[in-house]
Symmetry: C2
Subunit: 320 residues, 2 copies
Amino acid sequence: MIDVGFLSYLEGPLIKVDQKMMSRVEGYHPDLTAALEHLVNSGGKRIRPIVTLLMGSLLGAEEESLISLSASIEMLHTATLVHDDLIDGALLRRGNPTLNSHWTAAATVLTGDHIFAQAAMLAAELDNTEAMRLFAETLSIIVNGEISQLFGRNHLPSRDDYYHRIYEKTGSLFALSARAAALISPADRKYIQPAEAFGTEIGKAFQIVDDVLDFTGDQARVGKPIGNDLRQGTPTLPAIYYGEQHPEDEVLLACLEGSVSETEADELILRINQSGVIERALNDAKECAKNAVQNLREFPVGREKDSLEKLGIYIIDRDL
Amino acid sequence: MIDVGFLSYLEGPLIKVDQKMMSRVEGYHPDLTAALEHLVNSGGKRIRPIVTLLMGSLLGAEEESLISLSASIEMLHTATLVHDDLIDGALLRRGNPTLNSHWTAAATVLTGDHIFAQAAMLAAELDNTEAMRLFAETLSIIVNGEISQLFGRNHLPSRDDYYHRIYEKTGSLFALSARAAALISPADRKYIQPAEAFGTEIGKAFQIVDDVLDFTGDQARVGKPIGNDLRQGTPTLPAIYYGEQHPEDEVLLACLEGSVSETEADELILRINQSGVIERALNDAKECAKNAVQNLREFPVGREKDSLEKLGIYIIDRDL
């Protein structure tokens, strides 16, 4: 799961995070356990647990609590993916068939609910009301984001709308990963706000890169067809920049409304890829990563701080 | 919402519970807010809040906390109903069209998730880690019950299986309603376990009566077609008793497998209604209600204790 040297010392704790997650999905109906094991093992990069472990260790939190927190956040993330797949009707996720491509909607909904419940129980292990409240608030932010997206499809949003949406979708959970780690640490409370800001910005960088990879990656590696978001009616930063530059290209809006052929969509995605907007979007991601690191100025020095600083570069470079 | 005189003094607090719930569903996308308002106002009897308010007041808990707790539990209940409707494909619930009969699956899933998140945020207002952990555990029990039911359809369970299932489905949330009320009260901890036992038993009584009403009620009042559970492949106590008494009636198993005509199902439901099993099931409900009250022996005397004792009779007699 970790493929970069500067994080190799996290291998032990990350294995414990996986074990903690697996301990929550064993002993149910065999089909459910199999599906849960598949979900938990389906090759996520555990980037949120990495943020939690680094931030928490830097601020002196206990490893056991950080592992519960990491597992809780990763399960919350997994639960939202399960329901998201039902909503998107996406047939591939991380290169694996999604749950709902071979399960009924009912089983998919309940599997997501089950993982939500297990995530909440792991959060409860922290015995920290502030962290638990934060957990509930973050779930609320994520779901509200999905609802806005569902109701607001089929038009080209502004850049501000986009940034708000990726905060809801991704930044908020990275913010939780970092803020809750600071909360459960014995360190001064002055670190809580900048920890959260670090998480928010690194999360936004992560999501922008994800949205870029949707245009540039190949289907086998990314696990989704190229330009999938746009084909599904969800415009991301490259499409927004392209729309600003090419208001005359009517295929873009038609694509968002779902009224173009596969070939027209293919050609549009090619035009977007060749228009220079990919580089602009990546520059934005770099800016977010730089802003993230700025928040660490006053933090104690140490190996974990170095790793948090390198994380931004790692996030930008992954798979590109 | 309260139609019995012995609970009229709860009208004020119950209005505050509704206001608390409504405060959590305002300010979203207009369609979502409308759907949420509809769900929150759709005529539930607020029986779980009644248990919480009575138990908590009897043990000296603060009204404000009891209102947050009640609203949280009622929203958790509402969220499970929303996802349940998606699973059952039920077109009527409480006499009103269910969300998914005019919404997409995506909107229904997200609406349920949104209500879960709001329920968790209300639970967080209690600032009590034990109550929050209990809340997460109860969600887990309810979802596991739904999953077992989903995978275990189409056969006739034992009475023990049935009792286990109604604990998961209903008893657990009533148990939470009573236990968490005791937890957040300043009273001695010796009351926590009997409060939970009261909730569990009263919840089981409530569910048995619900299952009986599915056979005896009329569609307009109950909000579902007669014998709906059985038609959907879910056998409840009357069907289980009937199956024990009439192992020769092959239509029952065929009905659970979904391989009977509407007329055959109608006739089966008539046979069940006329076989005396309704009375047996109601006797079981009365037994649960009696067991519930036994747990209150050592509780302080007071108006609320009297009401908790009467609640069992109220639950048995409702709508029959």
